[in-house]
């Protein structure tokens, strides 16, 4: 037990490296705060475009969605970060990570919003049109509010997954929380920083994860 504490909960090494971890946490939060709304907006745009039922546009959108859902997000990141510079387009590791996460999640969010819009009976659209609402107005004030309620569970779950994807930025040397913890581990020859990073991730994400689990259980019951 003492051995375990010395290794994984060593206060001395924690005191030495906590500024590094704090810095890492700030990067992690920034990544999430920038990528989350962008991903949701991109997905929403895809789903709204899809709801206009233009055949060719919809085929293209489905291909886009499935393509980006098929790539592991790390692969996307490596392609963007190491592949683009050959075309003369060099992105910083932060921008590259945000771009990879947003592209990948736009596919997921697009599919979720699309399913949500499909779940709203068509009569709603027809009734609103008959009352003289304009097409965009119908989508945003009649269809979407109901659609979002129907897919709240997958929406929340995907948002959690998006935040959980941020540590991949460590692979392109962005000093976010996980990367900082690895650097700190190498400075202290001790896995305490790694443990600390895991605990920080857990403490921040756990309330969110509980909420998602509750929503999912309710959605399953409602079926």
């Amino acid at each position: 037990m003492q051995d375990f504490l010395d290794n994984f909960a060593n206060w001395e090494s924690l005191l030495r490296v906590y500024p590094l971890l704090l810095q890492g946490l700030i990067y992690t939060v920034w990544l999430a705060v920038v990528a989350l709304p962008l991903g949701i907006l991109a997905g929403l745009a895809i789903a709204v475009l899809y709801s206009f039922k233009n055949r060719w546009v919809n085929i293209a959108l489905l291909i886009y969605i499935d393509l980006f859902r098929s790539f592991p997000v790390v692969v996307l990141l490596i392609l963007i970060f190491y592949g683009m510079p050959f075309l003369g387009l060099t992105l910083g590791s932060f921008t590259a990570a945000v771009l990879a996460i947003v592209l990948n999640n736009s596919g997921y969010y697009g599919e979720i919003f699309r399913a949500g819009i499909l779940s709203v009976p068509h009569g709603q659209t027809e009734a609103a049109r008959a009352l003289g609402f304009k097409p965009l107005h119908v989508v945003f004030s009649i269809v979407l509010p109901q659609a979002i309620r129907n897919v709240l569970a997958p929406l929340a779950s995907n948002s959690l997954e998006l935040v959980k994807a941020t540590p991949i930025a460590a692979l392109v040397a962005l000093p976010e929380l996980l990367r900082s913890a690895r650097v700190a581990q190498e400075q202290t020859y001790n896995p305490t920083p790694l443990m600390a990073a895991a605990v920080i991730f857990f403490v921040i994400l756990y309330p969110f994860a509980r909420w998602v689990a509750r929503l999912e259980r309710q959605a399953l019951k409602a079926r």
Partner: protein, 223 residues
């Protein structure tokens, strides 16, 4: 245009990289299948164990599920690979990736199976017990078949998204598709191997993504 062909679709480079990236792809497929198999099976086992309603056991299972569902996958992988050796066992990159992602998937599938079992009406248990079925028999012949049916769409989505995490194995130098492509790319100073890797990922995951779309559709309309 010429530059795009030279840097991303360079036939010579791709031909040279093919054997190594293919070997990586084999690793990706094996690791993914192991993760899906072990993770789902272990998850089902834990969900059944939870049905036994033993308090200390339930507490441990809930803690296991909560921790692994909340932590980012890359954090789990890095923790097992770089942190665990301080306690004793040093695992290979292969074993690390399978263990880490298998555990993550088992946590999700425990929750999915358990919620599916809970979502079934209580009356099913009562009716079976009135007919003289034992609890175990009720669980195996009446509850589980329905619960699994309810769980399948959620489970396929989760299994696919977690097995895509195999690419995260690069972080602990697992020689899978992405890692192999990156090492060839570093040698030839040309990112075409990444294009090849991307194509490999697509051939494996695109059919799965399309199949999951179909499964979701079938199971949501088939009742």
């Amino acid at each position: 245009m010429e530059r795009i062909v030279e840097y991303y679709f360079n036939a010579e480079v791709i031909a040279g990289a093919f054997p190594q990236v293919l070997a990586g792809f084999r690793t990706t497929v094996i690791v993914s299948l192991l993760i899906i198999f072990c993770g789902t099976l272990f998850g089902l086992l834990l969900a059944l164990l939870r049905c036994a309603n033993l308090r200390p056991v339930n507490f441990i299972i809930t803690a296991y599920v909560d921790v692994l569902r909340t932590l980012p996958q890359l954090v789990v992988i890095v923790f097992i690979y770089f942190g665990l050796p301080y306690l004793g066992p040093t695992l290979s990159p292969f074993a690390t990736t399978v263990l880490a992602l298998g555990m993550v998937l088992s946590a999700f599938s425990t929750e999915i199976f358990w919620s599916a079992i809970m979502a079934l009406p209580r009356g099913q248990w009562d009716a079976a017990s009135a007919l003289g079925f034992s609890r175990l028999r009720t669980l195996v012949t009446i509850i589980l078949p329905q619960a699994i049916r309810l769980a399948i769409p959620l489970l396929t989505n989760r299994a696919i998204s977690i097995s895509k995490g195999t690419a995260l194995g690069t972080a602990v130098s697992l020689p899978e598709t992405l890692g192999q492509a990156q090492s060839v790319m570093a040698l030839v100073a040309n990112p075409s191997p990444l294009t090849l890797a991307a194509a490999f990922y697509l051939t494996f995951f695109l059919p799965l993504v399309i199949a999951s779309r179909w499964i979701e559709y079938r199971y949501s309309t088939g009742r």
